[in-house]
Symmetry: C2
Subunit: 376 residues, 2 copies
């Protein structure tokens, strides 16, 4: 690229867009949305704050449709979640559903997808997206994604999206940026930093130089293959074996089944991003929410005049700022209560004040301790 | 009775006890225990604070067993509730279940039972008891009931039980008593007074001369027949017709079906007790509770170390002083919340702070307004 000239991201030729792929990471578990989320029904398969009853996974695929269609959308999920993925995305081509025989966190997941896509299209440019995030402004999202995909392709760099902090959140990793943008909307990444303590988080917030790590990454298949091999050399043989099995449209399932269990579970952030050079980050100005707790649902959903968010049949009286979700068919009536989370599923019910929503994980731990696996 | 001599209530001859009957009024409806209580499943059919899974009705019959057995126990209920009564009391003789074709409050109910029993035994002495109260000390209850039945029989007077007020309750009627007992444990009733306002209730409480009207009455069949005819003369023809139909063990059903709808709905308190002379009242010192709201359940049930009352499968963490009832089979987890009522039934769920428990009736009214009859 010529110095001082912006990449022509909005006028990318059609031929280039044929190399754009979405990789949706749908293998996660998580307990913070219990009892709706379970071992056997992860958050990404729930309709939380989404339109038209779509699951978070379905919404993630749907909002990428202007960038790439289902033929160029890959979903990586646990083998045990394959039926859930098929139910959420009945039109996804079977070859585009990559099943992990066991969870090994995001670095192996992305490596698997990169091998599969590189075998299919050595010029592939990937948008790697978690399946369980909520995006408020889908048009703005598509616009940013189009720009950063073009940037990743044109510069052959890793690009990520960072969310402007609105609070001293200690639950996210942060990205320190250059003082000013260096590539269009994108900044240079100075560092990926791990989840901070409260004091540090406040300093990050006040400095104006930190963004939340959104977990969305953009790169060519060739670039991430190289970075994975450089920073995680112990996995190279496994990735090579998967790539060889995928070549020529082959079925990699037996190879994956053989090599995957031997991979370390490690995140792409820790395994690659914290070590790689030349990463760019673009601000994600489109209303991002990782739906990390029941209170998050309150932030992304429509409220009634009293500040209540309700899903399913409810009857509230003198009740304010509650989140009431019933998917069991039961009518839920909340009377004279404020700031509660009430979640009703077929076999389990949660009632807790919003400011205790993080303690849901304690319930899950207690259920495990008591051996009440049927509720997990 | 000789002046100055107490009636020998504890040495009543066995022959007399053959004339003692329990009349359990099980026809009530009520909405304050929604969603557990419904139009089709009234409070008396629920197991609330009772031992061994017994319904309140079953417990009412059971605690009378030392006074009179099932052969001498009559249950009066709405025709629509007959299956519920049969389920709660499978051993109740069919002839002892009196079905009201429509609800007409307690005066017609007691009149119906008095006619039926007088036809069976002109010397009958009746204990008339609501089916939906909780009694903590059953031995003390049986002792008091034995005494007041003997008094009602020996004196041919109406005797009632009054509960010593513990708070300025505005939800109950009150009974003003003589300054001292006049007949063993019993006082003369100076007046039945209707539900007071808060200021008046406080005055009653402080005076020491008022008891709560428990709704439990004791009299001979002959006495109440005469009092009903005297104070409710418009019902005399109907009672006469029912009595004639019951004579000789006849089936009164057709006559009841014909005359009952024409009776006024009026309570025994308003129709007879406020007007009759010579009524006695004995203090009910046996832990009485009318289970009039979900908070009442808290008062009559065992608490855990954190003050929680739980029924069904629950998991509470950092939760205090809650009432959590699940009869749906669903696990209910309450986290970080205090003083809540959480009631889970098959098709409806209530969440409200204890101090809003009286507003449950507003929910029921709202369900009616919305035409959601299936939840009523």
């Amino acid at each position: 690229m010529r110095p001082g000239i912006m990449p022509a991201v909005h006028t990318m030729p059609t031929s280039d867009s044929q190399h754009l792929y979405a990789v949706i990471m749908a293998g996660g578990g998580g307990t913070r949305l219990w009892p709706a989320s379970r071992r056997r029904r992860a958050k990404q398969f729930l309709a939380l704050g989404t339109a038209g009853g779509r699951s978070l996974l379905g919404a993630t695929v749907h909002r990428m449709r202007s960038v790439c269609d289902l033929d160029r959308t890959l979903v990586v999920a646990a083998a045990s979640q394959v039926p859930d993925v098929q139910a959420a995305l009945p039109e996804l081509p079977a070859a585009n559903l990559l099943a992990e025989p066991c969870g090994r966190n995001t670095a192996p997941c992305i490596g698997f997808a990169a091998e599969a896509l590189f075998a299919r299209d050595p010029a592939a440019v990937l948008a790697v997206l978690p399946a369980d995030h909520h995006i408020a402004n889908e048009a703005a999202f598509a616009d940013v994604v189009t720009q950063v995909l073009a940037l990743a392709g044109a510069e052959d760099r890793i690009v990520t999206l960072g969310v402007r902090p609105t609070r001293p959140e200690t639950g996210y990793g942060y990205i320190r940026t250059s003082a000013a943008p260096t590539h269009g909307i994108a900044y240079d990444v100075e560092a990926f930093v791990e989840k901070p303590d409260g004091v540090t988080a406040r300093r990050y917030l006040e400095s104006g130089r930190y963004l939340w790590n959104s977990g969305m990454f953009f790169f060519t298949a060739a670039r991430i293959r190289a970075e994975l091999r450089r920073h995680l050399p112990d996995m190279t043989a496994a990735f090579d074996a998967i790539g060889a099995a995928c070549a020529g449209g082959g079925d990699a399932t037996p190879v994956v089944a053989r090599v995957y269990p031997g991979l370390r579970a490690i995140s792409i952030d820790y395994g690659v991003m914290e070590k790689a050079d030349g990463i760019l980050v673009a601000p994600a100005e489109f209303g991002w929410n990782d739906v990390g707790s029941w209170t998050a649902l309150s932030a992304i959903s429509e409220h009634d005049a009293d500040g209540n968010v309700t899903v399913g049949e409810t009857l509230l009286r003198r009740a304010h700022d509650n989140v009431v979700v019933t998917e069991s068919g039961q009518l839920v009536s909340v009377v004279g209560a404020d700031g509660l989370v009430v979640v009703v599923t077929r076999d389990a019910i949660l009632v807790c004040p919003k400011d205790h929503a993080q303690e849901v994980r304690d319930v899950v731990a207690e259920l495990e301790r008591r051996g009440l696996d049927r509720y997990l």
